[in-house]
Subunit: 276 residues, 6 copies
Amino acid sequence: MNKLALDELLRRALIEDIGAGDLAGEAIFAEEDTAAGYLIAKQALILAGTAVFARTFALLDERVNVAFDYADGDKVEKGQRFARIEGPTQSLLAGERVALNLLQHMTGIATETNRYAAACGGHRALVVDTRKTLPGLRMLQKYAVTVGGGKNHRFGLDSMVMIKDNHIKAAGGILPAVARARAKVSPFVKIEVEVEDLEQVKQALQAGADVIMLDNMDLPMIETAVRLIDRRALVEVSGNVTLERVAALAATGVDIISSGALTHSVKAADISLRLI
Amino acid sequence: MNKLALDELLRRALIEDIGAGDLAGEAIFAEEDTAAGYLIAKQALILAGTAVFARTFALLDERVNVAFDYADGDKVEKGQRFARIEGPTQSLLAGERVALNLLQHMTGIATETNRYAAACGGHRALVVDTRKTLPGLRMLQKYAVTVGGGKNHRFGLDSMVMIKDNHIKAAGGILPAVARARAKVSPFVKIEVEVEDLEQVKQALQAGADVIMLDNMDLPMIETAVRLIDRRALVEVSGNVTLERVAALAATGVDIISSGALTHSVKAADISLRLI
Amino acid sequence: MNKLALDELLRRALIEDIGAGDLAGEAIFAEEDTAAGYLIAKQALILAGTAVFARTFALLDERVNVAFDYADGDKVEKGQRFARIEGPTQSLLAGERVALNLLQHMTGIATETNRYAAACGGHRALVVDTRKTLPGLRMLQKYAVTVGGGKNHRFGLDSMVMIKDNHIKAAGGILPAVARARAKVSPFVKIEVEVEDLEQVKQALQAGADVIMLDNMDLPMIETAVRLIDRRALVEVSGNVTLERVAALAATGVDIISSGALTHSVKAADISLRLI
Amino acid sequence: MNKLALDELLRRALIEDIGAGDLAGEAIFAEEDTAAGYLIAKQALILAGTAVFARTFALLDERVNVAFDYADGDKVEKGQRFARIEGPTQSLLAGERVALNLLQHMTGIATETNRYAAACGGHRALVVDTRKTLPGLRMLQKYAVTVGGGKNHRFGLDSMVMIKDNHIKAAGGILPAVARARAKVSPFVKIEVEVEDLEQVKQALQAGADVIMLDNMDLPMIETAVRLIDRRALVEVSGNVTLERVAALAATGVDIISSGALTHSVKAADISLRLI
Amino acid sequence: MNKLALDELLRRALIEDIGAGDLAGEAIFAEEDTAAGYLIAKQALILAGTAVFARTFALLDERVNVAFDYADGDKVEKGQRFARIEGPTQSLLAGERVALNLLQHMTGIATETNRYAAACGGHRALVVDTRKTLPGLRMLQKYAVTVGGGKNHRFGLDSMVMIKDNHIKAAGGILPAVARARAKVSPFVKIEVEVEDLEQVKQALQAGADVIMLDNMDLPMIETAVRLIDRRALVEVSGNVTLERVAALAATGVDIISSGALTHSVKAADISLRLI
Amino acid sequence: MNKLALDELLRRALIEDIGAGDLAGEAIFAEEDTAAGYLIAKQALILAGTAVFARTFALLDERVNVAFDYADGDKVEKGQRFARIEGPTQSLLAGERVALNLLQHMTGIATETNRYAAACGGHRALVVDTRKTLPGLRMLQKYAVTVGGGKNHRFGLDSMVMIKDNHIKAAGGILPAVARARAKVSPFVKIEVEVEDLEQVKQALQAGADVIMLDNMDLPMIETAVRLIDRRALVEVSGNVTLERVAALAATGVDIISSGALTHSVKAADISLRLI
């Protein structure tokens, strides 16, 4: 994770939430009042975002101490207290909501990703995210996916070539599309082609695609495509990927199962910060 | 909505997604290529974010035209095409993901909020959001709640006084806590007290709270509290608010039903942008 | 006060003043040179901005120590030394002007506000500011008003509804204007109506305005309005508010006396920083 | 003026004032409603900030038209309408306060500066500002000073060398201080020495100072200093400069009369924006 | 190229150069004065940065027109006029230096890269840049490399894995280092290993490196390595890459020749903007 | 140097280079791993940028220690180790490239400037830079010039008046151009006139220019101009300034020799950071 980019994100988030100041906290507590509290899991979860949680308070007030008993990626059982926090009360109250919103969001992603990854069983398939992330939060969301046992698809439009239907039409076919991309981009950049049928799979192979994405295919067609490709390219499946379907998809022998829902439809993990 | 704040958010989001440039788009399309497409609803939805969607493209390229057939707040049926877009292909591809991510997120919020609001039936209860929003997206999320028929709770720590358990303890009771806040803050700012039992309800009333939040109470206790308060303060219920429970909560006569899930656990609406 | 928003403001201010570097300080002093100094009041004043003053130097150089003998809100007599500062000379010189400009400005506001508040005598009237603040400095200016014994009017356009002449005309009257606002905004937001005569006062009351602003009325009409409203809404007077007139305004029984001059026409407090 | 720096300042100012949106404007007016209005001078004034006023609205909405009948530097009489504005009502209301706050502030500076400049009569003395400006507003304040007939002192610490008491002590005298500065800084940068008596005037002359600042001297001593310096350096007077004293100061033959009050204690010009 | 990131860079650059305003331009020209001019090549060059040049003026003033007779990547002969510009004189003068500084810098990079690329003759070798770029200018510098006929190495630390000496030591060898990286990073990311002798080449091959970088090897060892690798990985040479040595390096059959000097030691192209 | 402006530049540079995180460093090293290294000069150089180098790491991680054995401006011989660094390995790797890119760039400038300054021999001529700097890096580049023994020309368009050919034409001659500028700008600002022949030199003198820039003149004409001007104005030569020509230019008696190449065509100094 990029610490300086994280700081920018957190400063903006804190300014968004605190506005011109915490009316209640400043009215009722004195600068020197201190408090302590703990984080408790109200569901079983895969923890993600501990450094983000701690850094939120550090930016507000160096005197706040946060100590986690678990690390990112650890499983925490329902009912478990897993972190302690103490420091000036005004700062705890000012940072609490932003820190918790992010921790719950990231932990929600890691927990769900972990379910998908577990569903792949012993198969080679990796669970990966997409660019369907929430604007401004991509770095944190993609990090949480890796914490949950998934991998990241390209970070943005500049980190890989993805050739889709309209690129193919514009270029006059998969071969010329890949050729045009190969001629232009760096030799370090992988080229992926999104295909819809087996004929396109063959063309993508012939074009030398590094990754072939099977878009919205049914299981038998996926199996055929995997055999056809025969490890000459990475095989990704995408579209209609649900937790229920992951095991069957993984069993087809694909390399990559990508899911936008991991980041675009996140259920926040149920975590409470209780001050005592 | 604040247009200049929106522009800042969108510029950051586009820079996050585009990085150093769209490798595929720049390799395969020429500057002068144009394309057109449409948005289609793949589920029934309450539309939210039309201006955000359009502005995303406008920031990239003034030549992109976006025309919506529906406005924010309108219901769009599953299968309905509801907007057209046309312009330079490179710009459509560069802006597509950010625009769509936001539209799906905001529409998801409005659609879910609308279900909550509908569940209130003819009762006075208003559905409101909380500060449990995704960092950086609060303005858009809260706007989407209003589009769906909900109302906004305080925007941040500076716009209202919320007196909770720890404030009460620190001040030595609800009365001194409210008194201390009243003495400090503006006469224009409302003071809300979070209470856990009927005894605290009485104290909050006595203290002159503008709003009394009944935290995690069961239905009978809520009904008693509503009668006790008797319109002398706004009554908010919070905690364990699910779509299933909203109708019953509304029937108790409360003024406000607040739900963090509306913004912290959003299911993106299923919308496709299809280029033709 | 929002510490992170303050830091942004101070960083910008220091970059504005220092530019590419302090030519004189860097030419004449060595990095390791240190100096000390003190702040002296050259007029009687109500101190405001001590944390802002100290933070300015802290952002430049952690080695600078600032110690105030008085706190925000304290009265300091003319001739009194009220703070000591010591640290690297180059940092003292680089931060001096920004720190002092803000301290003098904020103290000027607090001192003047205090005069207005004192003039209210034993009456219920509160002195409040307006949105007539200096762009970029609103948080500091409004904070200084509270230090001086005043209260803050709405922070911005998003924190309250103020219905003025043109809103009333557009809506077709005070009643429909208030109704339209009430239907749209949050139940936590107060609605204020600006009125020009007693007929409008009655309409505002009938519309259920939370606050009624008597715009530019003479004292007798204000007294009549106060009696008419009879505590059913907060009563604010605005327009032609001068220090000379405050006592008479307060004596009418209004709740709020608002003055733009407190923030738009500030006389800087006379404070010197003397290095020794 | 730097247009891009102005845009940054105005965007921040508008975001500060509008927050998450204009509650009243969005509730009561429709997007397509339009309005018109005019600016009226409620005091005689020297106009400053017309481009700033117009640009504020342009950043919000290109459809707003602003037409000034007078230019920066023109005198506008009390009661004169001097500009018209028309456009979407929501945008007029959203931009009105920021635009007006800046116009009144800048015009206030220009009007007061103009009084100082007029008081110099036929003498050579120029009225100049200082670094005692309001943080974030220096460019606008210094521009307004020039509009009023004044000149700008150094913009910041990097644009000139000002040798004060503590520099002199650290360097071991005026001569070594000036020598050290001359050796370090660019040949294009002027060096000014602040002096407190005639002996120091002589040393500053001998050191080859480009400008000699007579700090808090009485009129006879200033006259002696001017004769002593005899145009071999620019002569600046500073400290205890009031409008009443300017004529006498100018009559001594000094080149520059600098006043911090021009920018640190500004009285906003009385201007109204009336929508019709 | 990312247009929004470019705008941010240009706004900062213009603010850096213009400061509080163009003293000479504002003193001597009127707002309505216009001028025209042209760009002339004072050396043979490969043009790069035309859109950057034009955008610089567009950000300042929409009325400036820039028309290039050549496109990025075109060769322009010495003495050739290759673009015309016209618009308000003040804006031409305010933008001239930033626009020209960037055009000369980018064209300098493209021109030199082109020499390197040409020196590769008919060999497969591609000329690529490194991360040795000038902070803040990476996007523009890397773009200019591609314009000159080169390719880009990884954009930053997040776009590829580069395993160097200290990674190898920490992991206990090339095999465990690659294995550890492979286990952690996305399947879309290429892994490159920097090697210093043939034994390490073998280990890198065995580890399944996608790219093997031969660091500072002499030509015979490079040839041996190329044969040994035999197209099972991309072969990059780096270190001591000069224009004189490129042909010989390319003749060894390597895939990639990387040079930091292309971006860290740029000679600005000699281009003049002449106003007429 | 302005430390806060430096921090902004470094944060942007680090975010540019690190992106979403250091893939290799995070995959292979643990948070607690530490490393040490040193900087070694691979050429003789004049060191510049030590504080910039150290600050880069400090922004990433306070635990990194950097100790230089030499200061800015010192000569370091080829082969000399001149600094040690130690700290968490992940932070050393994350900051290394940005820190080194800047150190090499600044040292390259100082080293080359030093050659120019040395070539001036015992003459009065000062070597100065221009506005031909790399956008975003002006403060660092100009600082490096002073470290190398040069001086800075104006920082930007707001710090001095430079009257060129087109200003002269627009104003109707050198005299009216200077007069117009003098009337408008501050008395603290120097006015420079660019001249092309001796007739213009005379006019510039008559106009009272503070600095006269002899543009692209040959040596005899420069000598004549110097005699003509006779110390009544500073004399600057510009255009076709190469290291080979500096000695001859200095011998003509000019005050200032300005060179754009010092900052627009920098050869990075050869410095290695070796981790051990």
